[in-house]
């Protein structure tokens, strides 16, 4: 029978020869269905409406600001010579980075057979999609004449009579981010098909049943279907794993292939990827800690899950810190004066406040996760992840703005100041992100029920084997 063993609530303790349980309480398969479907089937709480009101207002503001930008031109941003990339690109890199944790959890942890991913991968993948939506918006409107952004695509144009330049990292970026968005969407949607079928089969309302019926494509749970489905899932995971590494690598090429001091370094690809995973896990925790508490999912998203993610944050945060140090070392060791100046200027120039905010948030604050007690305290984790989010935004700010504002020619130096539109768009993109995420929580299966049930099944079998010894 599908009854889980009763576990003590602390599943973070390692017992040699024993697998730590990942589903807690007297949970049955049906409990899992109930816990997850209830979120979408009961009317949303006041808290949800309140959050949705704020988030959708900000998203609307974002839309209006984009319309204002298109009408007025890009001069409404603070982008002035020599800082022509400014906040739009900072936001772009930030959001793309956020997305990486979702793919990492769903693809790389899947390939490593880390079963603890099952209860968090759905929300993390959704986060990926929404982050890529936010990310894609910024370069789209940053091209200046956004209504001609389709010129980026290699299509036989009768106006241009030419093709895109395939040697440019900026074009690689177009392919990388759009491929990433598409594959993430496929991965996310494919993972949801069985759960959408569960929603369909529980629907009492005809229209609801029809909508979920169409979305679930007539999934019936046949073993033959499951066999091909699992194969497809493994293939997508194997394809998405190198993809996720390639995307931020290519984003870093946008900088590293240029000649700007502070950008022209070979450390950028691994440094960007580590930073992306770092920021992504922080954002996953920022979203999941309130969600598990509000939706009462503590028995599925357990302390052990948070503990594992904190360890990843600690590891990647330390890698990022090492990268900061390596940049300085190479600047000294390389003996290129402009490069040396760029880094001294970062730490002690006019943007020193941004640099030290970044170091404090990204390198110092995650070090608290060395302590198990701090890793197991959701409130503290939440606060630290907020710091990490802030720090990682500042990292991109430091890279983009400090290097551009002071490159080779002192006569071309200028201090960058954002305008109210820059601020509005940053806040608005968070509004868009949270709007999409709240809608997702309301209408889609927040937790991968099928995989969690499979995890529970393994846990039961394991427990039975132990009992029979």
């Amino acid at each position: 029978m599908a009854i889980a063993v009763t576990n003590s609530l602390d599943n973070t303790v390692e017992r040699p020869g024993d697998r730590a349980p990942l589903v807690l309480g007297n949970t049955t398969y049906h409990n899992i269905t109930e816990s997850v479907c209830r979120i979408a089937e009961t009317p949303p709480s006041k808290l949800w409406f309140f959050g949705f009101f704020i988030a959708s207002s900000l998203a609307t503001m974002f839309g209006l600001l984009i319309a204002y930008l298109l009408y007025m031109g890009v001069g409404v941003w603070g982008n002035r010579s020599p800082v022509f990339w400014g906040w739009p690109i900072v936001n772009f890199v930030f959001w793309v980075g956020i997305g990486h944790a979702g793919t990492l959890i769903s693809a790389i942890l899947f390939l490593f057979r880390q079963e603890w991913r099952t209860s968090i991968n759905r929300a993390a993948e959704a986060m990926t999609i929404f982050a890529v939506v936010c990310a894609g918006t910024f370069p789209g409107i940053h091209v200046g004449r956004a209504w001609l952004a389709f010129w980026l695509a290699p299509y036989p144009s009768l106006n241009l009579w030419m093709w895109p330049q395939f040697r440019s990292p900026l074009l690689w970026d177009v392919f990388a981010v759009s491929t990433y968005g598409t594959v993430s969407l496929l991965f996310w949607y494919m993972g949801m098909i069985p759960d959408l079928a569960t929603f369909r089969d529980r629907s009492k309302n005809k229209w609801r049943r029809m909508a979920y019926g169409i979305l679930s494509l007539g999934w019936c749970g046949s073993s033959r279907h499951w066999m091909r489905y699992e194969k497809a899932y493994a293939l997508l995971a194997a394809l998405a794993a190198p993809l996720v590494l390639s995307v931020h690598t290519i984003v870093s090429f946008d900088f590293a292939v240029s000649q700007v001091p502070g950008w022209h370094t070979t450390i950028f690809p691994p440094y960007f990827v580590a930073g992306a995973i770092f920021s992504g896990f922080a954002m996953v925790l920022t979203l999941m800690i309130p969600a598990r508490s509000i939706f009462k999912l503590e028995h599925l998203i357990t302390i052990r899950h948070l503990d594992n993610m904190c360890k990843i944050i600690l590891a990647t945060g330390t890698i990022v810190g090492l990268a900061y140090g390596t940049e300085f070392f190479i600047a000294w060791y390389g003996q290129v004066p402009a490069e040396q100046f760029a880094f001294i200027n970062r730490a002690f120039g006019p943007y020193w406040w941004a640099y030290w905010t970044m170091v404090t948030c990204n390198v110092v604050s995650p070090q608290l996760f060395w302590f198990k007690r701090l890793r197991n305290d959701p409130k503290l984790i939440f606060i630290i992840t907020i710091f990490v989010n802030i720090g990682m935004w500042f990292e991109r700010f430091v890279i983009v703005v400090t290097s551009l504002s002071r490159d080779y020619l002192p006569s071309a130096w200028k201090y960058f100041s954002p305008t109210w539109v820059d601020w509005g768009m940053l806040v608005g993109s968070f509004g868009l992100f949270f709007t999409l995420f709240l809608l997702f929580c309301r209408f889609m299966p927040v937790i991968n029920m099928a995989e969690t049930k499979a995890t529970l099944s393994h846990q039961l079998r394991h427990a039975n084997e132990h009992a029979s010894h």
Binding site: Y29, T179, M227, R228, S457
Partner: protein, 533 residues
């Protein structure tokens, strides 16, 4: 179950509540020889493939095919677009630079392989399939929750209703139900088809309009949503504009702008004129020279500088208060006397070399300048004023006297280094027309003669007596280099003042080289002189 009719039975399903019971039943059914069987589970059950005898899938090959398609598409697309159809010429890199094509190739490989995996899975699973006989049994809703179903289809060769029911019961299955064929239509509802059809038709309309617009002509202007700076109110230089309150199209320099050159050595150095001497005979001109070549103006608004139309005597610079570059050499006449020449002519060719218009009282002497020699460097023709230009453009201009107090001495200390500097600069800037030996037969001239360019004014030879320093002082030569003459443009923006003076020194040396007596040669070098044959 009275409606149970062998014709309409699609199969039998049995419900199980645990994975182990299901697996045991599956093995039993398989061992009984049934092949058209399936299990329906809320999550993938490991071991069920073996228990049911499910064969592996060809899906990985589809994904591989997708990936290879992506690779080949990407490489051939990039090679054709950037290497063949529209070669990008960038810093000597090969048109087909494969390393730079790797990222896009990688991305497209992943993309199409993912499409292969996802859509391949759907196609092999025959999804989407919205009409399924199993869905008619409401008990089957548990298959996506916590129930496990074993199913034996009616088209199995060993299928017999009673035998199947007994087998499923023996295998431990509960709630054994017959699944009936779904008699209802599996067509899409009419409303769906209608709406989809209408939407499809409507979506064609914009395409048709666009296609029609492409092939037809229209006399009305293009419809612009975004102006794209096509209708910018910008104006040409020297024209009035409505953009600024003062009506000037060109902006004046910011008050307090420091003159880039000219502040270091004083006006004499930058104009080639003895300004103190000039101040005695032409104070107005001297003042302008001082203003432009020597020091900052005292007030913001120079005299005689109406806001919109600039006076003709400042052709190169905008009507600026403090021009950064020195203007073309000041014509002697005050602006009021000067016929206003079209501005467009001014920047490159100043109207004439120092048109000293005040009628000269002195007897008419041959003007010292511009006896332009014909290309052959014979003895110089009598110095008519601009013979070539005159025949081409204007009737013989009245000869005038140059009263300008030119500097007669090079302000640089003439050393070997100065001369070598001058030689370098001369060979870079001057020799293309004047020739390295200064005889006026540079490559540009030779070419112009060859194609008989009608507007060509042959460059002067440096070796005519009219250009020797007694008739053509160093300051005047400097001024000519700086501001140009006839077709020759001024070089003040390209050659630094010190280098222009070095060129002057070098030109003197060049002249000396063609016009020296034996006494001029140092004693030590005289032995090397080979007498002319």
């Amino acid at each position: 179950m009275s409606a149970e009719n062998a014709k309409h039975i699609h199969g039998y399903m049995a419900e199980f509540t645990s994975v182990d019971a299901l697996l045991a039943a599956c093995r039993r059914v398989r061992d009984a020889g049934y092949t058209k069987t399936d299990a329906y589970t809320p999550f993938p059950v490991h071991g069920i493939d073996e228990a049911l005898g499910i064969k592996p899938t060809a899906l990985p090959w589809i994904a591989l095919g997708g990936g290879l398609t992506g690779t080949i598409t990407a490489i051939s697309m990039q090679i054709w677009m950037n290497g063949i159809n529209y070669p990008y010429i960038i810093s000597g890199k090969p048109y087909i630079s494969l390393p730079a094509f790797i990222p896009v190739t990688f991305e497209l490989t992943i993309l199409l392989a993912s499409f292969g995996a996802f859509f391949g899975m759907l196609i092999l699973n025959k999804l989407p399939r919205f009409s399924n006989p199993l869905f008619t049994n409401s008990r089957f809703d548990g298959a996506t929750d916590d129930k496990f179903f074993l199913y034996i289809a009616a088209d199995d060769p060993r299928f017999k209703a009673d035998g199947v029911k007994r087998l499923l019961t023996d295998a431990g299955g509960g709630a054994i139900d017959a699944v009936m064929d779904d008699e209802s239509s599996d067509k899409l509802p009419r409303a769906f088809v209608t709406i989809a059809g209408v939407l499809a038709m409507l979506s064609i309309v914009p395409l048709l309009i666009a296609a029609r617009m492409r092939v037809t002509n229209s006399s009305s202007p293009r419809f612009h949503i975004f102006y794209d700076m096509d209708f910018s109110p910008a104006k040409d230089a020297q024209k009035s504009t409505t953009l600024f309150a003062d009506g000037r199209a060109m902006r004046t320099d910011v008050p307090g702008t420091v003159i880039h050159s000219g502040s270091e050595f004083g006006p004499d150095y930058y104009s080639g004129i003895d300004v103190d001497a000039l101040a005695k005979i032409d104070p107005a001109r001297a003042e302008r020279l001082v203003r432009f070549n020597g020091q900052l103006p005292q007030d913001g608004e120079p005299t005689g500088n109406p806001p919109v139309t600039p006076p003709a005597d400042e052709p190169v610079t905008p009507p600026a208060d403090e021009p950064v570059t020195p203007p073309a050499d000041e014509p002697v006449t005050p602006p009021a006397d000067e016929p206003v020449t079209p501005p467009a002519d001014e920047p490159v060719t100043p109207p004439a070399d120092e048109p000293v218009t005040p009628p000269a009282d002195e007897p008419v002497t041959p003007p010292a300048d511009e006896p332009v020699t014909p290309p052959a460097d014979e003895p110089v023709t009598p110095p008519a004023d601009e013979p070539v230009a005159a025949t081409a453009e204007t009737p013989a201009a009245p000869a005038v006297v140059d009263t300008t107090p030119w500097l007669t001495e090079n302000p640089l200390e003439v050393t070997r280094a100065t001369l070598e500097k001058g030689q370098t600069q001369f060979n870079i800037y001057c020799a293309v027309c004047h020739g390295q030996n200064g005889r006026g037969r540079g490559l540009v001239n030779e070419r112009a003669q060859k194609i008989q360019a009608t507007s060509w004014v042959p460059p002067s030879s440096m070796h005519q007596p009219q250009l020797y320093d007694d008739k053509y002082p160093d300051g005047k030569l400097f001024s000519t280099i700086s501001n140009g003459i006839r077709k020759m443009p001024g070089y003040s923006s390209q050659i630094k003042a010190a280098d222009r003076w070095a060129i002057v020194a070098y030109v003197r040396a060049l002249q000396l080289s063609q016009n020296a007596s034996e006494e001029d040669v140092p004693l030590s070098a005289r032995d090397a002189i080979v007498p002319a044959p």
